[in-house]
Amino acid sequence: MTSQKLLWGLLLTVVMAGAAASLVVKSWDDKNTGELAINPFMKGTLAEITTSKAGKPYVLAFWSYNCGICVREMEVWRQVKKEFPEFELVMVTTDSIENKPRISQVLEQEDMQRFENWAFSDPIPARIRNAVDPKWRGELPRIHFYDAKGAMTVHMGMAKKQDVLAWYTKQETERL
């Protein structure tokens, strides 16, 4: 690509993104911004997610762009998804949804757009953490494994690929 073409492309992207952005001024937290969909995660959201997903196994992973280990862990999720296209993952960043550009940047760089994405949306993150688990003070990664019956196991720290694969295979076997 010549530098001139690149410049025009860049300009067009900026203009288009700017035009799209100007339409959504009133709904900054709205997921329909035309950019990567990131839903606001509030204190009642976990309960809503678990209700809506009842009956199937899935993983919910808390992460942050300030957590290098969390970003390294994304490779695990991509690999599991590759082996099991049905694998369902809910990503929740504890970064404020106000920092959506940076959150999106990381998710896109890490090729994580294909998963369901949420971001903390509360000026007091402790309010959300307290609803998720009163013992949790924000350490990451934090992973919730939900089985088809809705029972949940928490794993603190980076997930290992073989553990996730073993867990998922077990879930699938039990469903048959």
């Binding site: 690509m1 690149l6 492309g9 860049l10 992207t13 900026v14 993104a17 700017g18 799209a20 952005a21 100007s22 959504v24 001024v25 900054w28 950019e35 942050s64 762009y65 300030n66 957590c67 290098g68 280990i69 969390c70 970003v71 404020s96 106000e98 920092n99 959506k100 550009p101 940076r102 999106s104 940047q105 896109e108 760089q109 000026p123 007091i124 402790a126 309010r127 953490r129 307290n130 009163p134 013992k135 003070r137 924000g138 350490e139 990451l140 990664p141 603190m156 720290g157 980076m158």
Partner: protein
């Protein structure tokens, strides 16, 4: 257009711009050499204040000078500013912008620009920036030797001998004027990676200066295998010997370690401050705090979620860190107690933290008048329904102040002496 709306629209346009440039770079060079993170996040000002002001900064760190002036360092849109107050925050001096070119400054509660004052009134500033490569950083140093009127161009404390990433620095000045800076450093990790050798965590390094920050000793290793993402802490034994505390990795357990420098200015043996047994590969973003009193009792606060104990804790050492006792959970009567900070001043030990109660964030304190053997009930200093910084304490001549920046009320200083 209201100012709020203007900020919001500018931010969205900025976001659009960053998306544009990301796309362009990504298509050509894949994931290599991404532009540094935009550190520019929205930080609203409370009513009646305008930027740049500590009221609008995400983090503010204060330190008293000998003359009773409280110096403050705070980031604002890619610049570090320094100003001061002589009336507990009613009025502030005109802020001085330290770095002329905007930088991506680490400005979360765990890693913030911070100050230390030299015996001749020098003001020393350190702060971390995000480097171009993801999850790497650099620590910069600047000083003012004209009473805060001007600051030197910030320079990296990395002596350039190895490719590295520096973050989570702490700075202190001994009564002799000797400056010490410690920080978490990834040079050994990078080297190990190059030779495919396992290397858990980061390392902790230090430098010293005996010429008011004109020059520093070479980057020196303090210890290998520290946790990567928790603030470090430092205080001085008898106002002379640096005592460093950080979250270490002991055979996989991310518990705390302490090193005291000896009379020759060299680091002593590593001491494990507690066995919490927190074996986890994670980023707690929850570092310790240390304060050493006039009787040389070490007061320590930290957070753990190990098998032995879980929560924020206080403990004391009367043998220069060799053993800690009188362990007390902080804020056990509330929810979500976090980021404890400890300060001893004129015979009273103060512990501060924030928690979640009455649907608000509460800045709480407790005190001990017997050197940490027993504690008062916890009190609430202030509350906020909005975003807030970590709680901090500063002291001068027996008076102790809690400083707190919240998005709704701005930056506030509370006199909590003897509370």
């Amino acid at each position: 257009m209201t100012q709020n709306k203007f900020i919001r629209i500018s931010f969205i346009l900025l976001a659009a711009l960053s998306f544009g440039s990301t796309t362009a770079v990504a298509s050509d060079s894949k994931k290599k050499d991404k532009p540094a993170w935009d550190a520019i996040a929205v930080h609203s000002c409370p009513a009646g204040t305008t930027k740049p002001s500590p009221h609008c900064a995400p983090t503010v760190a204060g330190t008293f000078a000998e003359d009773g002036r409280l110096w403050l360092a705070w980031p604002n849109d890619g610049h570090v500013y320094v100003n001061s107050t002589t009336d507990n925050g009613k009025t502030f001096s005109t802020p001085v912008k330290v770095n002329t070119q905007p930088q991506s400054i680490d400005n979360n509660g765990e890693n913030r620009p911070k100050l230390a004052i030299g015996p001749q009134g020098d003001i020393y500033l350190t702060y971390s920036i995000h480097a171009k490569k993801k999850y790497t950083g650099d620590v910069l140093f600047s000083r003012s030797i004209d009473g805060g009127q001007s600051f030197s161009q910030p320079r990296s404390i990395n002596d350039g001998k190895s490719k590295s990433s520096l973050r989570f620095e702490s700075i202190a000045v001994a009564d002799s004027g000797e400056i010490i800076i410690v920080w978490l450093d990834k040079r050994d990790l990078f080297q190990a990676k190059a030779t495919k050798t396992p290397y858990p965590g980061s390392a902790i390094y230090y430098i010293k200066s005996n010429d008011r920050g004109e020059s520093f000793t070479p980057n020196s290793l303090l210890e290998h295998h520290t946790c990567e993402c928790c603030r470090t802490a430092i205080d001085l034994d008898e106002r002379i010997r640096p005592v460093i505390v950080w979250r270490h990795i002991f055979d996989g357990a991310r518990d705390h370690a302490l090193i005291r420098f000896d009379d020759n200015g060299l680091p002593g043996n590593l001491q494990r401050t507690s066995v919490d047994n927190w074996a986890i590969e994670s980023c707690p973003h929850h570092g310790p705090s240390i304060s050493i009193d006039n009787n040389n009792i070490y007061h320590l606060t930290w957070f753990t979620s190990g098998t032995v104990r879980q929560g924020p804790f206080y403990a004391r050492s009367s043998d220069q860190g060799a053993s800690f006792d009188h362990i007390v959970e902080i804020g056990a009567d509330g929810a979500q107690a976090e980021h404890p900070f400890v300060l001893s001043e004129s015979g009273i030990v103060y512990a501060a933290w924030k928690d979640f109660g009455d649907d608000k964030t509460r800045f709480r304190i407790m005190t001990s008048s017997d050197q940490g053997m027993s504690w008062s009930a916890a009190k609430v200093v202030a509350t906020s329904a909005d975003k807030s910084d970590h709680p901090l304490l500063v002291a001068k001549d027996g008076r102790v102040f809690a400083t707190w920046r919240t998005a709704d009320a701005g930056f506030r200083i509370f006199d909590i002496t003897g509370e």
